[in-house]
Symmetry: C2
Subunit: 345 residues, 2 copies
Amino acid sequence: MSDINHSSQQKRLKKRVFKKIDNDEWSIEELAQSIINGDRKALASGITLVESRANKHRKKAAQLIQLLLPNTGKSIRIGITGVPGAGKSTWIEAFGKKLVQEDHKIAVLAIDPSSSLSGGSILGDKTRMEELSHHQNVFIRPSPTAGTLGGVHRMTRETILLCEAASYDIILVETVGVGQSEVMVRGMVDFFLLLALTGGGDELQGMKKGIMELVDAIVINKADGDNKVRATKARNEYRQLLHYLQPATKGWQTKAITCSAIKGEGIVEIWELIERFIEEISESGVMEDRRKSQSLDWMKQMIHDRLFDEFMNIDGRKEELRRLKEGVIVGEVSPAEAVETLFTP
Amino acid sequence: MSDINHSSQQKRLKKRVFKKIDNDEWSIEELAQSIINGDRKALASGITLVESRANKHRKKAAQLIQLLLPNTGKSIRIGITGVPGAGKSTWIEAFGKKLVQEDHKIAVLAIDPSSSLSGGSILGDKTRMEELSHHQNVFIRPSPTAGTLGGVHRMTRETILLCEAASYDIILVETVGVGQSEVMVRGMVDFFLLLALTGGGDELQGMKKGIMELVDAIVINKADGDNKVRATKARNEYRQLLHYLQPATKGWQTKAITCSAIKGEGIVEIWELIERFIEEISESGVMEDRRKSQSLDWMKQMIHDRLFDEFMNIDGRKEELRRLKEGVIVGEVSPAEAVETLFTP
């Protein structure tokens, strides 16, 4: 199945879902119940609904989430980031297989269009997580392709809730770290993991600004064969560095460890580490505090986005803003004056 | 003069300024011209105007800034941060004295109410920057005390422009690093300097998250007497650490250096460093790019703040938001549903 076929198939599915929902053939209550019952098609349709940017769908999406709310919040939410080439797909495949062996139901989501999940290949015959994607207890959903990163962020947060309502008890959120995406992922997960490259100082230097202070563990992948010595060296360098940096989670010293996803080595240890993390922060109350403040931050963000969307929706506003921005750039208009102009009827 | 007297004196001054402006006895054009002419009282009054939170003053403040705009942008804007006890006041005193000796006109502003400039002591008889504050080419303004940090941020940005119009060619913006204040300072200065404590690993560990990746230089103060060896050791540790972190400014490796403000040692070197920095980033175009994107970010921030202010200004909105937040915290209402409720008339 080619990417193009996959994409047009997606579009047809979307059309069918929206037709049913818009004509009230499929009530939101029914949809919610089917999701709770574990119907994968219903889950996929629900996600399609929350990904819609149409005004009429937003209300229904909120209604759906509200109905599912009592069934949410019980999963472990894990974020995974790492540059392309760090081996994220292979790592998620190895990690996911370990989890399904232990009877977990896992959902894999992506937060940006350029993640390893995206581009349609995931459902094609050459998927990068082949074994995992065929497992009945695994649900894989690539990133929504439409909209800004902020919009993708909102959709992914809501998709997490839908997956939880469908009894997925471990949610993996993947990002390659475009723009502010790591900050967004940090704002929606319990445990955040950086998959790093092996190697010396130069590779550490290439790391994104502030990323080490956002994550709970740095996992140096590909610690196998000739690479093992370098990986261990890198791990020690990270440990030394982490000693000086503030941890992302109160009461938890960020860890640096090695693993080999391809050989399946160190995967069990990472899962044990995450379980210990969840236990510790649940006991200390940090987990509850984090989830609460994540919800409030999310709410605040949505209010700001909505206000800005409505403001920009006025006829001629975009053109006016563009013109004023140009004035600000060339130094003819002060930002204060530009804002006054925008707000003067 | 006690703090209380100072404060009531400030209030009287404010009242007088507003009376004149509100009654159009003092036109914005006259005020602008007096600021450009270097009239210190006019400058102080102009700052009082931009610090006002009244709606009627916002329009006039924007008008004032617009009039001054052609005379702005020509200073070097330097941010200074450091925990209380790092010796910021002494350092600014030493640095400022060096600059006025070279015939610079300097303005010292603070971004948060708890900075060393604040609390009224600055204009009292026991000021911490005694010599500096009496110099004719120095203008010191404590932080505006009213409003949120975001509001203080806006006011400080506009105050920078007013000082530039009054021919101050070096602007120092001080913060003790409350909340997001360092990010705000980074967004309004060209060069950002962290004044750090001497000492070993433990003190480095106490450093605020991400701060090292925001600054262009880490200055270890109090490198004198018994402390000199420890300061040098700390500097070397910082250098090692900085090697792994991404620099705040493209093309400029963040520096770590020692100085002794109290003995006046290393102050000249810091000024030379800043001059070199400005020269290099001006040539590379990074300076222009930074200033442009700072203005656009500022404009965007103001639009968002304004929209949120207007939204919250509706009768009963605050109470409604508080109630919805509680619902979100206890898990009864989803953030999405809460936002829908807020936006449903």
